[in-house]
Symmetry: C3
Subunit: 135 residues, 3 copies
Amino acid sequence: MIQQKEIVLSEHSRGFHLITDEILSQIDLPKAGILNLFIKHTSASLTINENFDSTVLDDFETVFNLLVPEDMPYYTHTVEGSDDMPAHIKSSLTDSSINIPITDGKLNLGEWQGIYLCEFRNRARSRKLVVTIYS
Amino acid sequence: MIQQKEIVLSEHSRGFHLITDEILSQIDLPKAGILNLFIKHTSASLTINENFDSTVLDDFETVFNLLVPEDMPYYTHTVEGSDDMPAHIKSSLTDSSINIPITDGKLNLGEWQGIYLCEFRNRARSRKLVVTIYS
Amino acid sequence: MIQQKEIVLSEHSRGFHLITDEILSQIDLPKAGILNLFIKHTSASLTINENFDSTVLDDFETVFNLLVPEDMPYYTHTVEGSDDMPAHIKSSLTDSSINIPITDGKLNLGEWQGIYLCEFRNRARSRKLVVTIYS
């Protein structure tokens, strides 16, 4: 069985943000299956990582900026601002969609795992996700 | 319900290429579900990114070559040429498989999203994908 | 139809390891479908890559350490050791879950593809995977 809906996240500033609760508040989980979250954007993305210490989120922002620096002379796609092309690359280094198993009616995440929104643009706007649950 | 078929992409030169239409011309989509594309190779990969401006594709090639440079003295797997080991790493930094929701009989991509083939080898050859659709 | 079980991998030392056989020995595959493997950790991950030459595994370790070096002054999440924060980043650069098509009762991997466990911590411990098969 397939259930599908589109949800809109609240606006998040540039950086990495835990959105597990924001997502769970908008969906109903079956007993067992898989949750697929798909982000309909190319300058923001999803990943799963540490859910406890907010310094992890800060270090993600630092390291991704070092991996894909802005304002380098080799970029040719510059019309949308210096954060735009790096945002595209960062999106592909992380995930446009994630799959999480559902077991006993709950997301079967590890104890320290949470869902991150990776917002790579300076100007925050709300992001759309397609939620697909198969059970 | 599961539908599955193998498709062969036309040869693409080294670089990043939009293949959304090439894939859609070879499959039939159900009303709702998920499309999984799986590439059967370890020196080419898939990702989802910007579908409009070809300078984005060029910048992807530039940045991935900077992230994983060729001909560095630390590589030990060199028998298949200087582009081979970097190709393996680049493949794991992107995706061997992608999942896209299907809604109302269409891929539910964002307005600016397209499917990329990431071809990391100098010598182009055609690449095989397994298409699995569950609905 | 959804089948789901949790499996525990044997301990693997820091580095990249082929675990295709270790996984296959613990699951039964249907005729056709998708295998989803989800790792319940944020300092180890999964990816699919070359299955033949062990120098590829060594070069993966080398390159990931160069991409995300340890002991840099910009890390703020340092309480769990110098390998911990880089491990989180490396996990997000690879995959917390992978999907592999099942065809004719077998994983439909390419000839040179295998499943990697990416163990990013110095102190090995056994890692838990959730296996979900839909058919």
